[in-house]
């Protein structure tokens, strides 16, 4: 089980290397960039939801903090985009750490409600601070520059997010199969059992929440620079739900499932555009069918089917 789990990573690298040379036009490259960005966010969220067994219905709030840090700080204060991005990520991490302790005393529905509230508060703040954020109308974002080079084209962004995706997958696979990751999965499996073997449950929940918030914030910044424009919708409740849906459809506690979930749900609205006005209905129907026939998510269900009787 140890070695085999990394095969998927090698496959991913190959796909990412080949993809920009086989896509017919920029429309698909743009789609690939957005898929990769979502995949990275969803992997972080899956560490929290699938592996540690905690829920966050406010994760788009952290995306928003990152995105607006990257929009506001360079625009109004002349900060370097990288400094702005890191500041946003640290602010997200700090906020996550501050709220995590009281929030993770809650369980189930209460935890869901608390994280939901957190996301909504962040969203309201972004809407109301109109003199900085442009309010509900949103605001433009200055381009990202690294070492004097401006990252502007879809192709450049593609390589940036592809590299980040590979790093995220590698780091997450490593994390899961480590003492830290085992403790995380154990507190999901049985909180009391993990406590009596010495796992400080609160600390692990806080750590993984902070890590996923940090990752979401960075990707929020990158999204903002990539799209070049940001509005509070990016940080709203529906985006949070969409991210959680990607985790669930792809498969809880599956890194590769997160990628599949992100790819599918990013592509689906495009594919369903032909349904004209009925695409939300089709979208909902597909989600329901997935949940009815593959409640564990796509990747774990299929993996189990192909390796029947096999360990792992």
């Amino acid at each position: 089980m140890n070695k085999r789990i990394y095969y998927g990573l090698y496959g991913l690298i190959v796909i990412l290397l080949v993809l920009p040379f086989v896509v017919p036009n920029n429309f698909y490259l743009d789609l690939a960039v957005r898929m990769a960005i979502n995949a990275i966010i969803v992997i972080g969220l899956n560490l929290l939801i699938g592996f540690a067994g905690q829920i966050s219905l406010g994760h788009a709030g952290f995306l928003g903090i990152g995105a607006y840090a990257s929009a506001v700080l360079p625009m109004h204060f002349g900060w370097h985009p990288v400094t702005a991005m890191l500041t946003g990520a640290l602010a997200s991490a700090l906020l996550a750490a501050l709220v995590a302790k009281p929030i993770f005393k809650l369980k189930g529905h209460y935890l869901a409600m608390a994280t939901l509230g957190l996301g909504i508060i962040i969203n309201i703040a972004l809407r109301n601070e109109a003199q900085w954020t442009g309010g509900p109308d949103g605001m433009p974002v200055l381009p990202m520059a690294l070492f004097g080079f401006e990252i502007g084209s879809d192709r450049q962004w593609y390589w940036v997010v592809a590299a980040l995706l590979v790093l995220t997958v590698w780091g997450s696979l490593n994390l899961i199969d480590s003492p830290f990751g085992r403790a995380l999965r154990a507190l999901h499996g049985s909180e009391v059992a993990s406590q009596v073997v010495g796992v400080n449950v609160a600390r692990y929940k806080v750590s993984i929440f902070v890590l996923s918030a940090f990752s979401a914030s960075i990707m929020g910044s990158i999204s903002a620079h990539y799209i070049g424009f940001i509005s509070p919708n990016f940080a709203d409740f529906f985006h949070s739900i969409e991210l959680v849906t990607m985790v669930v459809i792809g498969g809880m506690a599956s890194v590769y499932g997160s990628i599949v979930g992100a790819v599918l749900l990013t592509a689906l609205p495009q594919a369903l555009a032909t349904f004209e006005g009925w695409e939300t209905v089709a979208f909902g129907a597909i989600l329901m069918l997935c949940m009815i026939f593959m409640p564990r998510g796509l990747v774990p269900t299929l993996a189990a089917r192909f390796s029947k009787g096999d360990d792992k």
Binding site: S178, R182, H188, A193, V197, V201, D311
Partner: protein, 253 residues
């Protein structure tokens, strides 16, 4: 000085006095059993000592140090391990990972080192995997080394909990009904296993309903009834105690 000293320990849940003024002490290196009818407070007593519950009043000392009110993970650091009457196995992990998580406190648990897959960390983990496989062998689960936890039988999972507790390298292990729900053959195997654990120098505190096993293994026995201490002593002393007979068989028996 005793390894574990409990003095006037009580816990109330609302009006229910689950454990009332219970005092006893456990010397290092012995097998100490807690028995009593269902609802006598045995598991509650375990939960109090291992930090899952905080006592309403009373005192618990480990090596003379007061430990009541400390969290389970702090007590784990002090060498306390336990198993559960109702299984607490992580079904989302493989069998061997369940054992490996028992070694949590002996490992480098750094998040960033883990993400970077540092070689030292990896080597330590490989060594631990071997050690965990050895422990599974020790508790009689050698055939399950590559198995998923959710593919194992109830009896096997009971022992998996013991292997996980042993992975902590504890000084003191609390076994909550390790033979409950097992057939006579399995019960006998657990009996041997507990003896082996005790012989390895770990102090064993046992809750068990199988009297043959209790009498066979225990150096001392504590009898609880309705949350109170009914009797304490060696197997012989307890067996002859009229209060104990009354509690188990009824006064008119």
């Amino acid at each position: 000085m005793s390894l574990l000293e409990v003095k006037d320990l009580s816990i109330h849940f609302g009006g229910v006095k689950a454990v009332q003024n219970v005092s006893f002490s456990i010397d290092s290196g012995i097998v100490y059993s807690v028995i009593g009818p269902n609802g006598a407070g045995k598991t509650t007593l375990f939960n109090l000592i291992t930090g899952v519950y905080t006592p309403t009043s009373g005192e618990i000392r480990l090596d003379g140090e007061i430990i009541q009110g400390k969290s389970p993970d702090e007590l784990a650091r002090r060498g306390m391990a336990r198993t559960f009457q109702n299984l607490q196995i992580c079904m989302n992990m493989s069998a061997i990972e369940n054992v490996m998580v028992g070694a949590h406190l002996r490992l480098d648990r750094n998040l960033f080192k883990a993400m970077l897959r540092l070689p030292a960390l990896k080597r330590r983990d490989e060594a631990l995997r071997e050690e965990a496989a050895g422990l599974m062998e020790f508790v009689g689960l050698g055939e399950y080394v590559g198995a998923r936890a959710d593919a194992m039988s109830y009896g096997a999972l009971k022992r998996l909990e013991i292997a996980r507790a042993l992975a902590m390298k504890p000084r003191l292990i609390f076994l909550d009904e390790p033979a409950a729900g097992l057939n006579p053959k399995e019960t006998q195997e657990v009996d041997h296993l507990v003896r082996k654990v005790a012989d390895s120098g770990i102090t064993v505190v046992l809750v068990e309903h199988d009297m043959k096993m209790v009498m066979n293994l225990s150096d001392r026995i504590l009898v609880l009834d309705y949350g109170r201490k009914l009797a304490e002593g060696t197997g012989q002393e307890v067996r002859g105690n009229p209060d104990v007979i009354a509690a188990y068989l009824g006064t008119h028996a």
